[in-house]
Symmetry: C2
Subunit: 177 residues, 2 copies
Amino acid sequence: MTDRSPATGKPIRTAISDDDGIDFAIIELFFFAYRDFTSDPDQILADYGFGRAHHRVLHFVNRRPGLTVAELLDVLKITKQSLARVLKQLIDTDHIVQVQGPRDRRQRELYPTAKGRALALALARPQSRRIRAALEDSGTTERASIERFLEAMVNPELRAQINIVPAQTSGKKNGDH
Amino acid sequence: MTDRSPATGKPIRTAISDDDGIDFAIIELFFFAYRDFTSDPDQILADYGFGRAHHRVLHFVNRRPGLTVAELLDVLKITKQSLARVLKQLIDTDHIVQVQGPRDRRQRELYPTAKGRALALALARPQSRRIRAALEDSGTTERASIERFLEAMVNPELRAQINIVPAQTSGKKNGDH
DNA sequence: GGATTACGTCAGTACTGTTGACGTAATTTC
DNA sequence: GAAATTACGTCAACAGTACTGACGTAATCC
């Protein structure tokens, strides 16, 4: 408080750039890409009164049917309370059903219904279309580079989560079987 | 309400997968990658009592010093009110200063202060480090592929925004001048 | 039988986003 | 020069998603 007027820093008029040793190009591209990537499903979700949180839950329940609430919390990295409301709505609207765990009856296994499966597909469709368009002129090598890059962006400890995709019929790359 | 019990869809036990014609592999990778990409700065921001919105404003004011409020709203794709709170805090904490527009005195040009520049760099540093690590074994070709992919993921109408990066000294690729 | 685990839920709070309306100063238009 | 428009700031009200902490219940583990 000793310096009120002088404390007001002078405006810096030069742009921050990659010259500062920071990869602003990709940082910014990543921001724009993700913003538009999520905008497609957001519009569909609005019709259902759902938000992005519902999408994520629906996605992972479809990807890993039978996962428990605890496992879902771990994948999403959110708290129980944050999940509760969203999950309840998805169950009430018959997109997801809970089944008592077979071995441990305390657990609730989560499964999509036909309705939930359909919505998950509808939400993923425009995203997939966008990806296909972005990869239009790319070959297998480029696709592999992009997959490797995205995977490398994930925290190493959490990379295990990615590969828990059960039983791929058309087994591409999969460190399973 | 005519069908309460039968309405409860049966659980689908098979996982949704790329077989459904949807590129779930990349959809999911993109989710995980972005989640962790933003987690680094989030931790730093918490120390300042700031959130992700502050980060975005700070980033773009540093990248395009002198942009007006209207331009910033256009880049962020949020409403005036959403920006107001966040911008006010950044100004009050002396990270950003407003300068009356030279030609049009209604406009407020936004500039970072030294403090704001330093914070922007501090926030970008871990993100850049993560990117560098992810590109570790990649050559120039791969990097170019990834940049092209990310750019192609952005809505075409909005791609113009990306290239408004003023005066790069080390001019890499830039469709300007 | 007691501790732990898995889950559900209640209460309170914070951040980021929305729409709509109003005020003010500056610029543009006629 | 008066009127319309523009750029911005602000007030009010509300929604979605996230958080922490605490408590209860049923099931399992030891």
